[in-house]
């Protein structure tokens, strides 16, 4: 198992390197350059040239590429952000934990809601609950997350004053957070993260619930389930011990594959709710042509996809005794 994991990580290095290279030339090929943010008549062309020179943008592209790669490989340096006036690393270290927090909670919501509703719908097949969740799931699954986010904002974050239960943006109440008790701070964080994580997680939860229901119905029809019932086991034991374990396997694969979507979904959700994470950094970097920031952000998103897939494979091996990683 260990050698398998190490090998997988080693294989991903050239992959990420290729990603970096392609991204480097793609972003440089895009029209405009980072000094465009200084575009105003008060700024002399001379001042723009100064800035280009300070950041080495006046050098040939090949030289810039070699310098960049050299920095990344030898010193693990990702350069300076022109738009943020600070090392890329600092900005990312500030934003990444926020995105992980949001994505993790969304994943938790996705799994608990999705699996829970899926099981109930399967057990009570054809009931009102089953039909209702089917329609609801389809609605949320097909709704784009930015739209859902805006609807939630309007309904619960100030658009309708009677149901103004949640703040419209940010991670904490920036005025009062400092003076709150520990419990108060926790609650403050909870009400701020609720709408964004719900927006991010609910679409995927809807998908998972449908898979879960289908898988469980499939399993329930199997012979060994009938055997279990014939042995006189309670329905609860039959479903949860014999049924669920078998039905969960495909869900793990789906979960592993959904990780990249979770991160890319975060890009949009962060934008709607002003969540200070990687998504906002990524969008700003792309529009401002903030080259080094853009490259670093993409590298991290790439690495997360690799890790997500690896985790799914490992979990799969843990759940399914027939699979051995070697």
């Amino acid at each position: 198992m260990h050698t398998y994991i190490i090998r997988r990580i080693l294989i991903s290095i050239p992959l990420l390197f290729g990603l970096l290279t392609i991204n480097f030339f793609l972003i440089h090929a895009a029209p405009g350059d980072p000094t465009d943010i200084f575009y105003n008549p008060d700024m002399d062309p001379e001042a723009r040239e100064n800035i280009r020179r300070i950041y080495g943008l006046d050098q040939p592209l090949g030289v810039q590429y070699l310098k960049y790669i050299q920095g990344v490989v030898l010193k693990f340096e990702f350069g300076y952000s022109i738009a943020k006036k600070r090392p890329v690393k600092d900005e990312i270290l500030e934003a990444l934990p926020n995105t992980i927090q949001l994505s993790a909670l969304a994943l938790l919501l996705e799994l608990s809601l999705g699996i829970g509703i899926g099981i109930l719908a399967a057990v009570k097949q054809q009931s009102t609950f089953d039909n209702a969740t089917r329609v609801t799931a389809l609605t949320f699954y097909s709704m784009p997350s930015f739209y859902l986010g805006l609807v939630l904002l309007f309904l619960f974050a100030g658009g309708v004053s009677a149901t103004h239960w949640f703040p419209a943006s940010g991670m904490v109440d920036i005025v009062r957070h400092e003076s709150m008790s520990t419990l108060g701070r926790l609650g403050d964080r909870a009400i701020h993260i609720f709408l964004p994580s719900l927006t991010l997680g609910i679409g995927a939860a809807a998908g998972i619930s449908r898979y879960m229901r289908g898988e469980l119905l499939e399993v329930i029809r199997q012979d060994y389930m009938r055997t279990a019932r014939a042995k006189g086991l309670t329905e609860r034991v039959v479903v949860f011990k014999h049924g669920l374990r078998n039905a969960l396997m495909p869900i793990i694969t789906i979960m592993g594959l959904s990780l990249p979507f979770l991160f890319s979904g975060a890009v949009i959700v962060e934008q709607v709710f002003g969540w200070p994470g990687m998504g906002r950094v990524a969008v700003d970097a792309a529009f401002q042509r903030d080259y080094s920031m853009f490259l670093a952000v993409n590298l991290i998103f790439g690495a997360m996809v690799v890790v997500g897939n690896l985790v799914a494979d490992i979990l799969y091996a843990m759940v399914d005794p027939r699979v051995r990683l070697s």
Binding site: N40, A157, A168, R280
Partner: protein, 569 residues
Amino acid sequence: MNRIVRITSLGLFFTSLSCSPSSTPGDSPSDSAQRVIEVEARPDRGRSEEHNLEFEARWNELYNTPHDNGDTLVIGTIGDADSLNDLTSAAITGSNVIGLLFLSLTRTNPDFSHAPSLAESWQFSEDHLELTFHLRDDVFWHDGVKTTAHDVKFTFEKQISPNIGWATIKWKQFIKECVVVDDYTVKFIFERLYPYQLMDAVVGAVLPKHILEKVPDEEMVSTDFNRNPVGNGPYRFKEWKAQQYIEVEANENYFAGRPPLDRIIFKVVPDQENLALQLKSGEIDFMDGVPPRFFEELARQENLVAYIAPGRSYSYLGWNLLNPLFQSKKVRQALTMAINRQEIIDSLLFEFGEIPKGPVLPIIWAHHPNLPDFPYDPEKARQYLAEEGWKDSDGDGWLDKDGQRFSFTVKTNKGNQIREDILILVQDMFKEVGIAVRPNILEWTVFIGDMDKKDFEAAVAGWSVGLKMDMTTIWHSDSINDKFNFVSYSNPEFDRLNDAAIFEMDSEKAKQMWWRAQEMIAEDQPYTFLYSPKDINFVHRRFQNVQMETVGWNYNLEQWWVPKDKQKY
């Protein structure tokens, strides 16, 4: 289902709510207190080097009248700052915070004249080439070190260093030297005589030498000071969380006395819809540049006061004069007459705007009040075009000349809803006179790239108007290739006038020259000047002594206060 449909049709939040005919500003609901305040347009005294004692007295009044300390102001802003160091900051949020943290030599009065700040007084030498500032001796950096003339000289040297990349370096181009006379006296020596010597000398925040002298020029863009500034202004830096907020707190040792508000927080909010929502719900207390479509909804809120200030920017439809289609002055005048600009202002700006006749807006001293104008008149437009040979000879509804149809593409940038909508309106208006227009909306960097390369036929864009009267970068023929004369306007007589007016010391003479220059541009119509939007600001009612002025909504931000019984935080 019905509810969902309604939410959708609301366009989320306020967009369609404000589609109903908007009430005129000032016509607020039955409420005794004033809810909409029109900011008075002060005549710009322009290049005045005199004090304006009336404004200074009003400014000092607060420190002699009883007021309460405490409470927090939360300012909503769309973009995060990039740096809180004046040498490296380019974003507007950054400069608003810098204005609270740092002092400049002078402060700007509502009529654009200069008021004492770090400098108590100043005077020019006999030949007007040396400008001496006498500094206060009671200003301290927030770390306790005194601010002196050495800081002023150090700042000047950093501002002109090519290895730092200060954005407004050209403002210092005629300053030969900055000399420390003694600890509290500093002198600027100029290479030549010109009207804006005082303004150029004082532009930029004075920075602490004892901290920044350790930073090599090349490292200024990434130094820690950019995010942990030590200033000497009324507020001191407290905390900056990227993409979340910047917080400053009252400076107890401020020379003029502690500013009333405990804290001012600049909160980063993703977009204008969200900002308006938070303004309504009280999560933020202030927002500037409110899109006109939100006005009516927000004006209905009991706890908000609106301030409507005269515009400091204008939008235009620029004609690429290198293109054969637009080389005739008469054609350009006709194109302007084909556009119903009042309709654009009424429908897209909800009447919060005016039609500018030229590039110099009324807030500037050199503004020409009676420029030639080409009001909406499709009949006359068609007649002008016919005189230039553009007729519908084949009866297909489109004008043509020598077998070529009159059609062109108008480019603009994505992300500015009003500009995008203008393209659609203008397409319809031109269709009326038989001209086919194709809209093309581009990403910002692509758009300005195309403008630079002259790769456009017509384009909708905008300028904010600087305080200095200088038309070189946008209209001079020298600026065609590497500056901002996108449309390639070239008029030798204009160039000559502009070059002379810039250096004309007699302001009455200069005014005559600028008037003549504006007449030329109005006559030539290289742009169709579309609209100049008013600046809409909303602030929570609990704040007292709010004086918004044409020089900026934050003119006396450091003096806002809240009575004890109304304090929220």
